[in-house]
Amino acid sequence: MTQQTLTTTTPGQVPIRRRRPFAGKGTEEHPNRPGTITLLVCSIAVFLPLYATVTMAFKTTAQSVNGQVFSLPSPLSVEGFVEAWRLTNFPRGFAISVFVTVITVVGTVVLAAFAAYAIARNWDHRFFRGAFYYLLAAMFLPFPVLALSQVKLTGMVGLANPLGVAILHIMFQLSFSVLLFTAFIRGLPEELEESARLEGATTWTVFRRIVFPLMAPMSATVAIFAFLASWNDFMMPSLITADSTLQTLPVLQSVFQTQFSSNYNVAFASYLMAMAPAIIVYLFTQRWVMSGVTQGAIK
C-alpha cells in the first residue's frame, strides 16, 4: 500500500536517478566506503587473468616457463609478439577477422534497420506483423541445433568460408537487432515522416533522410553487439570454414594448445593481440554496450 502511493506521487524521480550514475559524481554525500573497498577487491577477479596475459606476453621464453606467472617481465621482451605474429600469420588472421566482422556489422545494421522500419510502419498489416514474430523466433534457436545442417548447406553452395560465416552471424544477430530497432522506431513520432511525404518525399527518401539518422543511437548499439558477437565467435567459424588458412583470430589460437605449448610468452602475446581490439572498442563505446543489454532484456 505505502509503496504504491510513494511511487505514484513522485513521477519525476525515476529518470533523474537513472541518469545520475552515468554522470558520475554528485551522490557522494555519504560515501559507502566499505562498498567501494569491496568492489575494488572484487575487481581483482576481473583483472587477474588480464594482468597475467599482459605480463606473460612481455616476458622472454625463458622467464615465461619459470612458473611465476604473476611476476613482472624482466627484461621486457617483445619476442613473444614477433613469434606469435609469424606463427599464426597474424596479418592474415586479422584481415579475415576484420572482413567477417565488417560484413556482419554493416549487414546487420542495414538489414535489421530496413526490416524493422518496414515492420514498425506496417504493424496493422498481418504479413509484416507475422514477419516480426518469424524473425524473432531465431532468438530461441541455438546454433548447435542448426549447426550440422548449416555446415552441410554452406558446403553445398560454396559458402564454407569467411563470407558464409559472416552471413550466418548476420542471421543470428537479426532477431535481437530487429527487436531493438522496431521498439525504437515505434517510439519515433510519425508526424515528421508524414509531413515529408506530403511534400512529395518517397518512402526511401524519408527513411534515408529522416528515420535512419534518428535511429543512430540504436544503430550504434546494434553495431557494437554485432561486432562483439562476430569478432569473438569461435564456434561458427571453426565449424563452417573448411580451409584452416582462412580462419579468424579466435580459432587460430588453438595452435598453442597442441604444438608450441611450452612457449607461453608467444601464446599469451597472441591471445593479447586477438582480444585487444574488442577491449579497445569497448573502452570507447561502453555506454551503448551497457544500454543494449538492458534494452534487449527488458523491452
Binding site: T7, T10, Q13, V14, R17, R18, P21, F22, G24, E28, G35, T36, L39, A52, G67, V69, L111, F114, Y117, I119, N122, D124, H125, F128, A131, L135, L136, A138, M139, F140, L141, P142, P144, V145, L146, A147, L148, S149, Q150, K152, I167, M171, L174, V178, T202, F207, L228, N232, F234, Q253, F268, Y271, M275, A278, I279, Y282, V289, T294, A297, I298
Partner: protein, 310 residues
C-alpha cells in the same frame, strides 16, 4: 517519383486482391516497404528455417550426412534415451547450467547493489565489471586453463588444500568447477547490467521511508530491493540458463570435454555427428535440444507477459 508510385499501385492491387486485409488506409503498403523486408526474410529462411526443417526431417532417417538414407521413424529418439553418452551430456549440461546461473545471479545481484550505492568511482567500477563480457570466450578460457594448470596448484600447495594442489582440469570430479567459474566470470556482466537497471527503477522514497522506520541496510535489501526486482531476477535466471545450456567455447578452451567425457556438453555431442557416422542420430539429439529451448522460450515470454525479450 515514377519509381515510387509504380510499386505503390502494385501493392494496392495486391491488397485489393487479398480481401483479408480490411482495415482502410493501412492496407495500402508502399512497395518500398516490401523491398526493405523481403531480403531479410529470404536470407533468414535460407539460413535458419531451411536448416532447421532439414535437421528435424533427417532425424527420422539413418543418414550419415551424405548419400542414400531411409526412414527409420523414431528409432534415433528411442536410442537416445538409453545412450549413456547422451544422458551424461544432458545431466552435465543441465547441472552445470543450473549451478552457473545461480552463481552468476547471486554475485551479479550483490555487485549491482554495491554499484548502485553511494560509492566513489562508480563509472569506472561499472566499466570494469562489464569488461569480461567483451572478451572472446575461447581465448579467456585458454588464459584461465593456464592459470588453473599452473598458478592454482601452486597456491593450493602453499595454503595446504589437498584437492587444489594438483590441476583441477585433470580432476574428473572437479573439472566442471573451472567451467562454472569461467562461464560465470564472463556471464556476470549482462546479469549485472539488468539488475542495475532494475534497482535504479525503484524510487528512492521507498528506501527513505524504510530508513525512517529504522530498517537496517540488510533488512532493506531483503524486504525492499529483492521483492521489487523479482521480475528482473526471473528474466536473468531464464536468459542465463538458456545461454549456459549452449556451453561450448569455454569448455573447448578449458577441458575439451575431459577428463574422459566428464565435462562434455550437449553441443559437443551434437557436433560429434560430423565425424562419427551418426549424423541423423545427432540430428535427433539436436531436435530434443531444440524442444528444450522452445519450452524455455515460452516460459520467458510468459514471464515477460508476452512482451518480446531475449
Amino acid at each position: 517519383m515514377a519509381t515510387a508510385t509504380a510499386p505503390t499501385t502494385g501493392a494496392r492491387s495486391r491488397a485489393d486482391a487479398a480481401p483479408r486485409n480490411v482495415r482502410a488506409g493501412r492496407s495500402r503498403v508502399n512497395g518500398t516497404f516490401w523491398l526493405m523486408l523481403v531480403p531479410s526474410l529470404v536470407l533468414f529462411t535460407l539460413a535458419i528455417t531451411v536448416p532447421a526443417i532439414m535437421g528435424i526431417t533427417l532425424s527420422f532417417t539413418d543418414s550419415v550426412g551424405f548419400g542414400e538414407f531411409s526412414w527409420v521413424g523414431l528409432t534415433n529418439y528411442v536410442a537416445m534415451f538409453s545412450d549413456p553418452a547422451i544422458l551424461s551430456a544432458y545431466t552435465f549440461t543441465i547441472g552445470f547450467a543450473l549451478v552457473t546461473v545461480l552463481v552468476v545471479n547471486v554475485v551479479a545481484f550483490l555487485l549491482a547493489v554495491l554499484l548502485t550505492s553511494k560509492i566513489r568511482g562508480k563509472v569506472v567500477l561499472r566499466a570494469i565489471f562489464v569488461l569480461p563480457m567483451v572478451i572472446s570466450g575461447i581465448i579467456i578460457a585458454y588464459v584461465f586453463s593456464f592459470l588453473f594448470a599452473n598458478s592454482l596448484p601452486q597456491l593450493g600447495a602453499w595454503i595446504g588444500i589437498e584437492p587444489l594442489a594438483s590441476s583441477l582440469l585433470a580432476n574428473p570430479d572437479l573439472a566442471w568447477l573451472t567451467i562454472v567459474f569461467v562461464t560465470a566470470w564472463q556471464g556476470i556482466p549482462s546479469a549485472l547490467l539488468i539488475y542495475i537497471a532494475g534497482i535504479l527503477s525503484i524510487p528512492g522514497e521507498v528506501y527513505e521511508a524504510a530508513a525512517m522506520d529504522g530498517a537496517s541496510p540488510a533488512r532493506r535489501l531483503v524486504s525492499i530491493t529483492l521483492p521489487l526486482v523479482a521480475g528482473y531476477v526471473i528474466i536473468n535466471l531464464i536468459i542465463g540458463f538458456k545461454n549456459h545450456l549452449n556451453a561450448y567455447d569455454i569448455i573447448v578452451g578449458l577441458t575439451n570435454g575431459g577428463p574422459g567425457t566428464s565435462t562434455r556438453s550437449v553441443a559437443m555431442t551434437i557436433f560429434s555427428g560430423f565425424t562419427g557416422g551418426d549424423y541423423a542420430y545427432q540430428m535427433a539429439n539436436a531436435t530434443v535440444f531444440f524442444l528444450i529451448a522452445v519450452v524455455l522460450a515460452v516460459l520467458q515470454l510468459r514471464t515477460t507477459r508476452g512482451k518480446a525479450a531475449f
